[in-house]
Amino acid sequence: MTEREERRFAEVPRESIKLMAESSGVELSEEVAALLAEDVCYRLREATQNSSQFMRHAKRRKLSVEDLNRALRWSNTETICGYGAQDALPFRPLKEGELFFVEDREINLVELALATNIPKGCAETMVRVHVSYLDGKGNLEPQGTVPTAVQSLSEDLLKYYQQITRAILGEDPHLMKVALLDLQSNSKIAALLPYFVYVISGVKSVSHDLDQLNRLLHMVKSLVQNPYLYLGSYVRSLVSSVMYCILEPLAASINPLNDHWTLRDYAALLLSHIFWTHGDLVSGLYHQILLSLQKVLSDPVRPLCSHYGAVVGLHALGWKAVERVLYPHLPAYWANLQAVLDDYSVSNAQVKADGHKVYGAILVAVERLLKMKALSLTLAAEGSGAGLPGTTTGAVGFRENSPGLSPPSEPLSEPPLGIASHLQAGGAGCPWEEWTPVSLPAMYCELYSFFGDSLAVRFSTGPPLGGATPPGPCQPLEGRKEPASSAPNLENTRKMPQLTASMNISPRQDGSPRMEPQPPSLAATETRKTCSVEVPPGPGLGTTDIFPKARFPLPQAGPPAFSFIIGGRQMGRRCQGRRFQTSFTPTPPLTTHPPRAYAHKLPVIGRVSKPVRRWTCSHYSLHLPL
């Protein structure tokens, strides 16, 4: 009890009171100042005591400014503003004079806004249960770690972080696989998320190293797939890293031997996956990404590989994105591409090869667009009662192709982001603002004028949209019917330039640069290899033709029923598909069709008479197996 005499309370000296009075222009006598000082002390103490009540009921140990403000408010006193921050306010003495002050630095808002460091995330409040003590004995497991955004890392976490990053970016493919798997399933790494995100944002500095880029992308994949992680605002950072890999003319792409195409495809796939699984987080980004993709596409100065990225990116974002961005842009772009493809100079060879890539990517995207659009129309016509057969098939196919990723059930409907609304609600002057839906026939006609038969052919080889191979005639669509009998034949005719679009189904020996045995990751390689291996070598394998003549086991193993005449300009091996016309030599009814007319009849949607299961559906072809 004696020590309480030594305990002194904070007191406001009368000098301070006088000073404050002076600053507001009042002269105080000594006595008044003394009285005031005492009263101020008392009131302060009273307010503090009252505020402690609020602290106790908030079940805290630390008195906050908010508590004091509440106490003040309830005693009809003005509250104090500007001290709500959680951090302690540094109270500093000035050496020269006896002056103490609260440090209150000015904050440069511009700097703050443009700062590149990752802001602290605000994870969602959640409740987690764990059995602490069983039968009152023993601590089963320590209370789970908390998915907070930024915390001081515990020793263990730090070690984990080092090991994981070392393993992923290191040389040992086996170790990387293990690390990625763990990253994908570990429930306790939330605290490390910002660090991983930071590591991933390093893609910009390793753009020369395809291997590293690939590894980082795999890291993204693992993080995105980890069910215990709440990505929150970090998803933006991840998306920007992925976008970088899709769009940027990477340093690695200077060397044509580098298969940066695979990387772009993979990144696009990843992007689509992020959008499908974390739609709620990235909905705001959708519009932004479309814009940037469009910008790249419409910029002729950009290298073709960037364009390629934009196309696969759009493709990954769904057919609606293709319809609204790529399709309207196609006429303008076509001219450029055409110029590239038409240039046969030796110096242009590399560029031309790139052009073919772009061409193929566009073809795939466009084909999918037509297919999905037709399906949506069909479904609308059928009253959408029959479910979404396309969706299911797509899902199945996707799963086969990429066991790692959960299948984004490819949409007839919009993804849960409300793309349409985003597009329509976009800023004024957006090109797609004035966009009006083009009818399917018109669209087809236009596209056909670009792609000619290659488009048509791809259509006939589309997946059985009806699901379980219903036999008989194809689904009726706007009067364009293809006799069912032509289907098996057509499939043999897939001699068209498929380019990169169908690469994953082409045998690796076909010389496509994309198939260079340089696995992006071990985890992914195995699946991919199996995929490739599954494809029985077609008859065209032996040839040096860059385009496989046939990539499928022929269902009817007999000799091809017809041969091809390549109409238009015959360009040898590196022909462009645009001028292709098919004519069928001996085959009975079909040959009677004039080629042109035939082409117009081609888009048979929902072809069903495929005798074999077709995992190599063309519209998956961009989706790399992981």
Binding site: E5, N76, V127, V129, S132, D135, G136, T148
Partner: protein, 750 residues
């Protein structure tokens, strides 16, 4: 705090059955009453609870009448004629009010061995806030002085300020010189005398003398008065006194001391010999000395009971009969389905039979002699769904694990992660299926603790389309699209300090700093009602175990009893001298217990609003309360880190559980009452052997008469286990129906 007392419109919140006449403006803050026995609301309130209308208080006793008269005076003075009429009508007082020249000595005769004739008078006089208490003259009928100055005017009589130190020192020397057995008892005088003398000095503007007095003697006071001394020492001006609520309380209530007759005689003799009138006056005016016959108490005994803001309990306060027994359970046919049988087959047939019999037998047993009448408080009828729930409960309870010192419960910890908003309150439903959290950012969040997601009912338009005849209509009305693991409830404008689920899981109550209690529907997840009345932060709220009623307590120092379908309270429980920090319903719904910042616990009768038990002994604000499942015992936890156990029937403290090092925010008895779990800010859950604590106590009527029993210091024996969480203060504890202990708290990353 200041405006509470200076508010000119301050009225007495008393008459609750005339809501139309008395609008809410009058209930800003009830008058401080001398103690619970003269509770005003109890006499006047008979709203919806009036099953035996006024029969309980039908023949008002003398003192009740006096109280009423005082109230009438007050009302008339404030020109509330309508209320006066109503009150008069209700209380059948037409003819008596004018003839009220009751003299204090007349009332004092009934006051038995008190030896202090003022006790009764003081009650009346304080209620009317008018009487200079030192005189035995009749209460003046008219008194226009404002309350505050009247209260303070009691200090106006002057002694020689310079002699105060001498007086005090004299008494100190005397007390230190007496025999040991008396010294402890008489030492109780130090603190109240010290405070009153100090205040007197301050009041009379002897600032320097007051400071010197404080310096000299404050060190002698018991350590558990530290908080109060801190308040005191800052207070050196008369003006400060006026605004200080706490000291006003100290003034208006008489500090109660319990002293054995021998010690009292000793003191009296000493003071008379010395003609030490100053001290004698203070004792007479401001202290209430409750004299008992028998052995003087020891120091530890005294310490265990003291510490409250206004001294100890008067024994007669706790004399009232309390019906602590449980209500008879309604008889419900329990379909014994085969599933259960199979499940229990492993344990052998005979055992199974037995447990069934037990569970059925206890329900159909005849009325507990200590239980209130079944319809003492009108309770809502059981709905079909309630019956189903009861059946579920019985089935679950057959699978309940029997706990004991050898068989401790498993503990599941519900950690709130990323609760940046600050978790302030948690509640579980009885069946542990839902979990609600109140946050400092004004939100209430409800989580499903089971895989079943939370769904809203469909909108009215969609509901129209539903086939109402179908069997699964209850399933069909739910909107599957809204299914989610948690729902946020927005509506409050201040931190949510209390949440409570209704027993049928259809409603959730939340009380907030914004002065309201809100009722939320767990079907639509919208707010149904905002109960306004407290006008100040509402610290806690709790649903009755039978639903329909609920109680809330707040900064306005009263607890209110509400019915969900009434927008105004049915009862106002006034008597605490400081904030009501926590409120709980008795398992039989007939009583409400409140804990307060004044470090006391009061048990209130829901029927008539009387305070029937008054417990002192805590040394800090009380933040948690729990009734034992059989309704006989009460556990309370406070900021001092101690859990105290109380026998409600006898009104005695029967145990003290020491161990926690910080505020205890959660207390819960296991379903069978064998284990008491306490959770604290110190990040631990402790389990106590409550069975042993209760059994060891020999509480018969004889020991109860003295009002105190020797407390064994056996906390260590009773402590069965201490379980640490990882930086997570325990905010709430809950036993599932099978006796699994659930703890909840917000993980604190710092």
């Amino acid at each position: 705090m200041t405006p509470l007392l200076s508010a000119p419109g301050e009225k007495m919140a008393a008459v609750q059955d005339a809501p139309m006449e008395l609008d809410s403006e009058k209930e800003t803050k009830p008058e401080i009453l001398s103690d619970g026995t003269s509770n005003l609301s109890g006499n006047t309130a008979s709203g919806t609870l009036s099953s035996p209308p006024l029969t309980a208080g039908g023949a008002p006793k003398q003192e009740d009448q006096q109280t009423l008269i005082a109230v009438l005076q007050f009302l008339r003075r404030n020109k509330l004629t309508e209320s006066v009429d109503i009150l008069r009508r209700e209380a059948c007082l037409e003819d008596q009010e004018d003839s009220q020249t009751l003299d204090g000595s007349g009332g004092g005769k009934g006051d038995g061995d008190g030896g202090d004739a003022n006790s009764l008078l003081s009650r009346v006089s304080i209620a009317s806030a008018a009487a200079p208490q030192s005189t035995l003259t009749p209460i003046p009928v008219k008194n226009d002085q404002p309350d505050v100055s009247v209260v303070l005017s009691a200090y106006s009589q002057q002694g020689d300020p310079s002699l105060y130190q001498v007086y005090y020192t004299g008494l100190k020397n005397f007390i230190e010189s007496v025999l040991d057995c008396h010294r402890a008892e008489l030492s109780q005088l130090f603190y109240p005398l010290f405070v009153h003398m100090y205040l007197e000095l301050v009041y009379n503007n002897h600032e320097t003398k007051a400071k010197a007095f404080f310096e000299k003697f404050s060190g002698d006071q018991e350590c558990y008065y530290q908080d109060d001394l801190q308040i005191l020492c800052g207070l050196t001006k008369k003006e400060h006194l006026k605004g200080n609520e706490a000291l006003l309380d100290f003034r208006t209530s008489r500090f109660v001391l319990r002293i054995s007759r021998d010690s009292y005689q000793l003191l009296k003799r000493h003071l008379q010999e010395r003609h030490n009138n100053q001290i004698w006056n203070i004792i007479q005016e401001h202290l209430y000395i409750d004299i008992f016959d028998g052995m003087p108490r020891s120091k530890s005994q005294i310490d265990s009971m003291s510490g409250s803001f206004a001294g100890e309990t008067r024994r007669e306060v706790n004399k009232a009969k309390v019906f602590y027994g449980l209500l008879k359970e309604p008889e419900i046919e329990v379909p014994l389905d085969d599933e259960d049988d199979e499940a229990e087959n492993e344990e052998g047939k005979p055992k199974k039979k037995k447990t069934k019999k037990d569970s059925m037998g206890s329900k159909s047993k005849k009325q507990d002699p200590n239980a209130p009448q079944q319809n003492r408080i009108p309770l809502p009828e059981l709905k079909d769904s309630d019956k189903l729930d009861k059946i579920m409960y019985m089935k679950e309870s057959t699978k309940r694990i029997r706990l004991g010192p050898e068989n401790l419960p498993s503990i599941c910890f519900y950690s709130f992660l990323n609760a940046y908003q600050g978790l302030t309150a948690v509640d579980f439903t009885d069946d542990s299926s839902l979990l609600a959290g109140g946050f400092a950012d004004s939100t209430v969040r409800v989580w499903s603790a089971t895989p079943k997601k939370l769904r809203k009912v469909k909108s009215a338009a969609e509901l129209n389309l539903i086939d109402k005849e179908s069997d699964d209509v209850l399933e069909r009305i739910m909107d599957e699209k809204t299914a989610s693991e948690s729902k946020n409830l927005y509506g409050h404008s201040g931190p949510v300090y209390g949440v409570s689920f209704s027993p049928d899981r259809n409603y959730l109550l939340s009380s907030s700093e914004d002065g309201t209690v809100r009722l939320w529907s767990l079907q639509t997840f919208t707010c149904l009602v905002g109960y306004k009345g407290h006008n100040y932060p509402v610290w806690d709220t709790h649903f009755s175990p039978f639903g329909y009623y609920f109680v809330s307590g707040g900064h306005d120092r009263v607890a209110r009893l509400w019915a969900t379908d009434h927008y105004q309270p049915l009862r106002i429980f006034a008597g605490h001298l400081a904030d009501v920090t926590c409120t709980r319903f008795h398992p039989n719904s007939n009583y409400v217990v409140t804990g307060s910042t004044d470090r006391t616990i009061r048990l209130w009768d829901v029927l008539n609003g009387n305070c029937v038990r008054f417990f002192t002994g805590h040394k800090g604000p009380i933040h948690s309360l729990a009734f034992s499942p059989n309704g006989k015992f009460l556990a309370s936890g406070s900021t001092d880190g101690r859990v105290l156990l109380w026998d409600i029937g006898h009104g005695l403290m029967i145990g003290e559980l020491k161990g926690h090092t910080d505020t205890i925010y959660a207390l819960k008895f296991s379903r069978d009452g064998e284990i008491l779990a306490s959770g604290s800010m110190d990040n631990t859950v402790r389990l106590w052997d409550s069975m042993k604590a209760f059994d060891d106590m020999e509480t018969d009527d004889f020991t109860a008469a003295t009002g105190h029993i020797p407390l064994p210091d056996n906390s260590q024996e009773l402590l069965l286990g201490m379980y640490h969480s990882k930086s997570t203060p325990v905010t709430h504890l809950h036993f599932t129906r099978r006796n699994l202990l659930l703890a909840a708290g917000a993980y604190n990353s710092q």
